[in-house]
Symmetry: C2
Subunit: 242 residues, 2 copies
């Protein structure tokens, strides 16, 4: 009997935004796998789980996610020996538990389908273990949490929604023209450029800035002009509604 | 002391996909408000809640949502006397509980920000009670649940995601050209037209059909050509990944 791999979205920060299913599986799992990369989300996932349940004598396994992306590529670099070794190690660690019949719960902030690094790992896991027993548990994404905090709808009836990671906003103007709602993710590093486009398109009054939506110190700025440098952070987004 | 209005996303169908927060508030609330419209989602929300907790002697208040939309408008029709009266009644019912100090939990399937009819009500509530005490509890949306069930990511790194309600797909081709992932909601009534466009664009192999993602009888069709008429239903979507 091999173990089962659970990929669990633990929500945007508030431990109460875990689902009942996530909590049950986390309580049952003997091994919790925590992604550890350079991005700030990695450590947050474990801190959410720690607030929701006692980790007792579970094994906490760190999975190293070496993210060395180039700006124009959304593929992980292949052929880089050092990175390849790190990935291989993570895959090996997960498979060794599964092969011993131990269930592994891989945790990820928000929802697994929304920009979670897990999917970089998935192909590599399947390659070595095509019969992998895996279940993905969806979670509350930061996008939904941000809209809830701002008390706005992302879409009603026939409205169209676009979600753009803000480090790649060259077509921002065209998207703002065609969609009813545009969600810009991870805006902290490109905030000025976005403000420029919003000003140009006369959309400043349609934009809301939400910082750390699912967390205790989360903030909503209905007046985006009032956002100061210290308000910018990795867990932030802009929602533009026309 | 006036009561507080909670708007609660109860997730896509599986009662275990309720959040801990949703469950706590639903247990505490004396009055649960259930939207009742012509769309099939209305009755589902209550059935999810019933599986997760005992409703005991809570008041279940039905909110009538008269949806008489025109095809080209995403606004609710105003000026229609009969519809206006129905809306006014729902608003009055909610406010009367709040004014007596009773908390009201308004439930909605999936996540409140994703096409929930609640937002039609919100403006009307604020008009009569500008100081309304309201909290929106985000939930797992059917979009995230569908991706989880299909074991796919909606976006990685710099990928762009578009969400289109399928009854308004005139720009489908342009969107499929420009976005990495396109989520088509409520495809049952326009399935043939979508298949036509996918065939034309040679994207049939990139499309997955997911039916009733969050429910026990949920199904994933990785080969979209195998979808039969009886597989089409209101709780369905197509995810196209390029």
């Amino acid at each position: 009997m091999t173990g089962k791999l659970y990929v669990i979205g633990v929500g945007p920060g508030d431990p109460e935004l875990l689902t009942l299913k996530a909590l049950r599986i986390l309580k049952e799992a003997k091994c919790i796998c925590v992604p550890k990369g350079r991005e700030e989300g990695s450590s947050l996932a474990l801190s959410i789980v720690k607030k929701a349940l006692s980790l007792g004598n579970k094994e906490i396994m760190e999975a190293h996610f070496p993210m060395k992306k180039t700006k124009n590529s959304n593929e992980l670099p292949k052929g880089d020996k050092e990175l390849d070794n790190k990935w291989a190690e993570t895959v090996k660690n997960i498979l060794s538990r599964l092969n011993k019949g131990i269930d592994v719960a891989f945790i990820t902030i928000g929802d697994p389908a929304i920009y979670s690094t897990f999917f970089y790992l998935y192909d590599r896991l399947l390659e070595l273990k095509p019969e992998l027993n895996i279940e993905i548990i969806p979670g509350v994404s930061s996008i939904n949490a941000s809209a809830a905090k701002a008390k706005i709808s992302l879409g009603l009836a026939d409205e169209k929604i676009a979600i753009l990671p803000a480090n790649y906003i060259e077509n921002l103007k065209a998207t703002l023209e065609k969609f009813d709602t545009v969600v810009l993710m991870k805006v902290n590093k490109v905030f000025e450029g976005i403000m420029h486009t919003l000003t140009e398109m006369n959309l400043l009054n349609n934009a809301i800035y939400i910082s750390r939506a699912g967390m205790e110190d989360g903030k909503v700025f209905k007046n985006i002009n009032s956002v100061k440098e210290e308000d910018l952070n990795y867990f932030s987004m802009i929602i533009v509604k026309k």
